[in-house]
Amino acid sequence: MGLHESMDTQIELVQYLSVEGALLVPNAPVEDEKLVAFYEAMTRGRLFDGKAIALQRTGQLGTFASALGQEAVGVGVASAMEPRDVLVPSYRDHCAQFTRGMSMTECLLYWGGDERGSDFQQCRSDFPNCVPVATQISHAVGAAYAFKLRREERVAVTFIGDGGTANGAFYEALNIAGVWNAPVIIVINNNGWAISTPRSLECAAPTLAQKGVAAGIECRQVDGNDVAAMHDVARRAIAKARAGEGPTLIEALTYRLGDHTTADDATRYRDADLVRRAWTREPIARLRAYLLGKGLWSKEREALLLKRCGEEVENAVAAYLATPPQNATAMFDWLYETLPISLRSQRDAARRYSAGGSHD
């Protein structure tokens, strides 16, 4: 694009499934078997989520960030990735992480206060959860640059919340991604809220997707409760990045149906009617309606799925609760590749005075 050409900032919302689960486009852009698999993955994520909250409420888990209502974003995007790609998550992306192979036990260990939860046995190259908002985006850009430099056909995918896009770290990383034509996909999980601060108080731009315009990168806005649209847009963006054609910023419009975390009480700042209305647009019921309409789903399959996922969650919880705590000296084990001599006496003190770790 020449120096004086203007760029169209009008960004069209991509949606394939209506709120009622009707197909809005002539041909389903995602195969039926895939949609069934997405339905199962989203349900699995939601069951896990509910259980994690229950564990927190009963003092068996630390603070937990629920993804209730946002399952289509994580599942839709992560299912478009290949195992060799790398995920750079925020702290609310367990639906994406499960798709990548993070185990439920690992997720529980992390929120249960044990670093071993980030030592994913499956997706070894994926980054751990990122708590400082927006700082993870540059990690994805750096990872993507590494792939590009080594001529590896891999991409990095990262997630950020709507509030996070107000942070300077987001803009710096976005800008660098554009300049370097990095194979990175940045997904804004716009769930309407940054704790109690609504989207309208975070940014005056009509869409968050258009933040990519200033960075010179492709921007898309998608119905984040429509897993078919989410998956298809992510799939195209990933294919494009893999082909060396650069980064994409995707804004997923969804809604946070739960509290910000288990330490939050959203009734203090949120109108109950809003939440009731949001429940009519949520991703799982929508896809179920579509699948039922096409004869791809049934009450029997639903019952089986719930039973299977319920057992999986229970087994994961049991494994989590049965995991013995690390020794106090584990604090020192991975600080540096080799423990500096000056830290040896501190490690010895930790061993001597160890209180014994616990889940609570």
Binding site: V86, V88, E115, R116, S118, D119, F120, R124, S125, F127, P128, C130, P132, T135, I137, S138, H139, A140, V141, G142, A143, A144, Y145, A146, F147, L149, A156, G168, A169, E172, A173, N175, I176, V179, W180, M331, D333, W334, L335, Y336, E337, P340, I341, S342, L343
Partner: protein, 326 residues
């Protein structure tokens, strides 16, 4: 063998590191065709190409952050922060990510990056170009903080930093960049990290210093030699994790200690050294430990710069003071 000044030694180390290891790359502001504002990366883009010597956008936090991502994916990025006054936006990445990645993932991912920056006063620079933030980084578990005091040490320590499996903050005393030359053997040999250098042996008093202050301490020692005072000088070199054993052995031998730092006095790294001596070698002391430091003031504009930086005279005064305490 070649005579090199400190910034040429940095350049030689970067060049050697890049030629021996394809995973090393450089990024920073104006480091390409311009060779960096101090010329530390002179000629490297022409030699290694734009993909490995990257003129990064003007975004310090972003530079550190992409370096974290690169390092986690197996590269060895060396990021240049143009001046230390602008290193503070990197704190978020260095403290919250670079220093923790290995620990958080139980060793699954690590962060072998180097964050290098010219630092310290004494070059008549504008505001925000003369700070000494080493203690701020040295407080952070998981980081290494390395400061060379001579061209040969700059060469060997930077090579070591580039090969280190963990993140290193490498602060180069700007004042020494072109102050003197020294024989540097460009043979790819690294110097050890986490080890102090015994720079001058003496029996009467231990002076502990790092960076540009090692030179001031040497000048002080030469003057005092004429008065019959034998000064032992230790160049700390790696502040985090620090080799206190070498410092303590020296203090046990001499019974006296003067710590010289260019950074402001309070809560600086000198205080840490004094505390360590107090805990582990108090009864060897024949005089109270003494710190010579910059004052707890904002680095002044350059007309007062010489009053701010600890001078040879102040160091001599401090050494005489601890000698009299005997």
């Amino acid at each position: 063998m070649t005579e090199l000044n400190l910034v040429e030694a940095v350049n030689a180390a970067l060049s050697c590191g890049m030629s021996r290891d394809d995973s090393v790359l450089l990024l920073g502001e104006d480091i390409g065709a311009n060779g960096g504002v101090f010329r530390a990366t002179n000629g490297l883009q022409a030699r290694f190409g734009r993909e490995r010597v990257i003129d990064a956008p003007l975004a310090e936090g972003g530079i550190a952050g992409v370096a974290v991502g690169m390092a986690a994916m197996g590269l060895r990025p060396v990021a240049e922060i143009q001046f230390t006054g602008f290193i503070y936006p990197t704190f978020d990445q260095m403290i919250n990510h670079a220093s923790r990645l290995r620990n958080r993932t139980r060793g699954r991912l690590s962060c072998p990056m180097v964050l290098r920056s010219p630092y310290g006063a004494g070059i008549h620079a504008p505001e925000h170009h003369s700070e000494s933030p080493e203690a701020l980084f040295a407080h952070i578990p998981g980081l290494r903080v390395v400061i060379p005091s001579t061209p040969a040490r700059a060469y060997g320590l930077l090579l070591a930093a580039m090969r280190d499996p963990d993140p290193v903050v490498f602060l180069e005393p700007t004042r020494l960049y072109r102050l003197f030359k020294q024989e540097v053997v460009d043979d790819g040999e690294a110097l050890p990290l986490d080890a102090c250098f015994m720079t001058r042996e003496g029996l009467d008093v231990t002076v502990v210093a790092w960076g540009a202050m090692v030179r001031e301490a040497m000048l002080a020692a030469e003057t005092l030699e004429g008065e019959g005072v034998e000064v032992e000088i230790i160049d700390v070199a790696t502040l985090k994790p620090c080799d206190f054993d070498t410092i303590l052995r020296s203090v046990e031998k001499t019974g006296r200690c003067v710590i010289v730092q260019e950074a402001p006095r309070s809560n600086g790294f000198g205080a840490e050294i004094a505390a360590e001596i107090g805990e582990r070698a108090l009864y060897s002391l024949q005089a109270p430990i003494c710190r010579v430091a910059a004052y707890d003031v904002v680095v002044p504009l350059y007309r007062l710069e010489r009053d701010y930086i600890p001078s040879v005279e102040r160091i001599i005064g401090a050494i005489r003071g601890v000698m009299e305490g005997a």
